[in-house]
């Protein structure tokens, strides 16, 4: 038998156990900190016993599996961990802060070794760490497999007379789960959509058949017509409903709880707080809320930024940081809140002026607003400053402004997903800040405007567009760099002729006309900039299912994916950000 075929399942199971170890160790650390010196860990209480049992069991399971896979170093290191928890369980080891710190480090090491196993199929050399851990804890562990565990002369009951776990109400969840590779879910969704297309074909074929039959009045055709209307048609309709249900369920299956991302933060916050000698209690809620896998996958980075900010600049000495997820109509709100000093807006405005993000005149206006505005009622221009990339690039800016590290990253993340980020600070008289990420529930279905360019249809996501306008041809100017612009109010909006970019022929009907009196322009936003996409016609708005482009097509740029319309037509979805970026580059090189 080739054991390596079990690698994936091994990795995923050890990942879960490492997460469990981290969680339980954090809980244990909290208990240890509450102990008076005389209590210490010599006599672990009931609650602590349960944690130690759990820690021991997870270490033990990793040990057994790692040894079976032939990762003997990992087996040995987890064996040492198992012994440490077992010693502590029997009151033979004082789990002081130093040892706990070392165990946390060990968990990190195991995690990185697991990454190596995942990527390269071989484990990290962790022997030195294991030996050191043995030394500072004094546990006697031998070999990667089972070792004589009564080496210290103390009997070790593996399943004690009264196992502490029996005291906990069994928390066996009624729902059972299986792990499914995400690629399989994507494939399932693809197949469902193909079904959808076939159903549409079936429907239109039926219509054609019926039409023909209605014309042919021969009596012979009557049973045939009967069969189609009374049997085939209802079956086709039913099939359609089943396919819709199936599609809905497949979409549901792609949802994962945000807890998957949240799980790693208690540990991170603890580490950062400790490093900065701050006392932070971290509260997480709403972990069960479910979001599309694609969003959850991307959520980690912006949340790390927000939490770091709260620890670095929010909380001064001790405080509370809350991470909350909650549903608000068809959006998900993810909140990062601290009860710290709040954002020093005056400093933000000062720095923005120094960095030439705003002009002197703007500065004067904003400063006046700051002085006179009631608490928390700031002009959006001020609030937006903290998301400006230039405010956060330099280190000294961070220190003086107090906020701003990577906040532009957070903003970009939210916008990329068709969401927004807001900030509220101060929250009360004492300060405090709250960042709110508003995200769509799913990325797979979006509202889009369908447009026609040449003889092709394209979809423009609502999230990236402002509005559509008819612009008289007379209002379109051509500047020196052969760039068409249209004057709208005070702004000169550059136009992006899609037909030209995509090299599309105009529709046959339009060929005859020399010049059109007006052009249809869809205004799209990219950060603060606005640009106009020139299209031939607006078709309609529709909810579309986004299908990512397969590998070789992905690199083209300008397209966010494809979708299949109700009539079975496959069209491309424009990636507006990318398209503008691309176009601008062309334009610049032309200059």
């Amino acid at each position: 038998m080739d054991i390596s075929k079990f690698k994936d399942i091994f990795v995923s199971e050890v990942e879960d156990h490492l997460q469990n170890l981290n969680d339980k160790l954090l809980a244990l650390e909290k208990l240890v900190q509450k102990l008076t010196p005389s209590q210490k860990v010599r006599e672990p209480g009931k609650e602590m016993m349960i944690l130690l049992e759990e820690l021991m069991r997870s270490s033990h399971t990793i040990k057994g599996s790692a040894a079976t896979m032939g990762f003997n170093q990992m087996a040995f290191l987890t064996h040492v961990l198992e012994d440490i928890f077992d010693y502590a369980r029997h009151g033979q080891l004082d789990l002081n802060a130093k040892i706990l710190e070392r165990i946390f480090a060990t968990l990190d090491l195991l995690a990185s070794s697991l990454v190596e196993i995942k990527q390269q199929g071989r484990e990290k050399d962790v022997e030195a760490a294991a030996l050191q851990l043995k030394k500072i804890t004094g546990v006697v562990t031998q070999g990667g497999g089972p070792s004589p565990r009564s080496a210290q002369g103390v009997p070790r009951e593996v399943s004690g007379k009264e196992p502490p776990l029996a005291a906990v109400p069994p928390a066996t969840p009624e729902i059972s789960y299986i792990k499914v590779p995400s690629g399989r879910l994507d494939a399932l969704l693809d197949l469902t959509e193909e079904l959808l297309i076939e159903r549409l074909r079936l429907e239109s074929t039926l219509q054609i058949l019926l039409r023909h039959l209605r014309r042919a009045r021969s009596r012979l055709h009557s049973p045939l017509r009967e069969a189609i209307t009374n049997r085939l048609k209802p079956t086709a309709d039913h099939l359609g409903r089943l396919i819709s249900d199936l599609q809905y369920l497949v979409m549901q299956a792609r949802l994962v709880p945000v807890g998957q991302v949240f799980a790693r933060f208690p540990r991170m916050v603890r580490d950062l707080a400790q490093r900065q000698k701050k006392e932070i209690s971290f509260m997480v809620s709403g972990e069960d809320l479910e979001l599309d896998r694609t969003i959850v996958d991307k959520l980690s980075e912006p949340l790390v930024h927000l939490l770091r900010n709260a620890i670095d600049h929010g909380v001064v000495k001790r405080g509370i940081i809350k991470l909350t997820a909650r549903r608000e109509r068809d959006l998900v709100h993810i909140l990062v809140e601290d009860d710290g000093q709040g954002i020093q807006w005056a400093q933000v405005v000062d720095t923005a002026c120094e960095r030439k993000i705003i002009t002197q005149e703007e500065y004067a206006v904003l400063h006046k607003n700051l002085e006179h505005a009631p608490q928390g009622d700031l002009r959006p221009e001020i609030v937006n400053l903290i998301f400006h990339p230039d405010l956060s690039t330099k280190k000294e800016v961070t220190e003086t402004s107090g906020r701003g590290v990577g906040l532009n990253v957070v903003k970009r993340f939210a916008e990329d997903l068709g969401g927004t980020v807001r900030v509220e600070s101060p929250l009360g008289a004492k300060g405090g800040s709250r960042f709110i990420l508003e995200l769509p529930l799913t990325l797979a279905i979006i509202d889009a405007l369908l447009v026609r360019v040449g003889q092709e249809s394209f979809a423009i996501p609502f999230g990236s567009m402002e509005r559509a306008v008819r612009v008289p041809t007379t209002k379109i100017k051509n500047n020196m760099a052969d760039q068409d612009v249209v004057i709208m109010g005070k702004n000169r909006v550059p136009l992006v002729p899609l037909a030209k970019i995509f090299h599309l022929l105009p529709p046959p009907a339009a060929k005859g006309e020399k010049s059109q009196p007006a052009q249809t322009v869809v205004l799209v936003k990219r950060g603060k900039e606005t640009a106009g996409l020139v299209v031939d016609a607006l078709l309609n708005e529709e909810q579309i299912i986004v299908k990512p482009l397969p590998h070789p097509l992905k690199g083209i740029g300008g397209f966010a994916g494809s979708t299949i319309l109700g009539n079975g037509e496959t069209i491309l979805i424009l990636d507006v950000l990318n398209l503008l970026h691309h176009h601008q580059r062309l334009f610049k090189t032309a200059v």
């Binding site: 079990f6 399942i9 021991m56 057994g64 599996s65 087996a75 004589p148 009997p155 593996v158 399943s159």
Partner: protein, 119 residues
């Protein structure tokens, strides 16, 4: 050996259950049930008769020794565990375990012991 023998694999690690199942499938067996902890195992054992039970020791919601205590005498149980302490092995045998294999195991050893029990 009876290829249709019904086997219950009890281990809290899905990985471990998969590995064991694979070894036994290669040996020609095909009838498996699985349980992820002691309580689940007891429920399944109460519901149907198994020709052989492969049992882990350290598991949540009732460990292997407690399972053995309840059903060890009336069932054929082979313990497969990373716990190698003599005391535990003896205890398991006193509850009726007919064999004790220590992880990491040699595949051949597992196949031999299982075949012995089933023939």
């Amino acid at each position: 050996m009876n290829k249709n023998a019904k086997i219950l694999l009890v281990d809290d690690s899905v990985f471990m259950r998969n590995v064991l199942k694979n070894i036994l499938q290669e040996a020609g067996l095909e009838n498996f049930e699985e349980a992820g902890d002691g309580e689940e195992a007891l429920k399944k054992i109460a519901a149907e008769k198994f020709d052989l039970i492969l049992l882990d020791i350290i598991m949540p919601n009732k460990g292997g020794l407690d399972v053995l205590k309840e059903i060890g005498k009336q069932n054929k149980v082979l313990v497969i565990s990373a716990v190698g302490q003599e005391k535990v092995v003896e205890e398991a045998k006193s509850y009726g375990a007919i064999g004790y294999i220590v992880k990491p195991f040699d595949n051949q050893q597992v196949v031999e012991q299982v075949t012995n029990v089933l023939s």
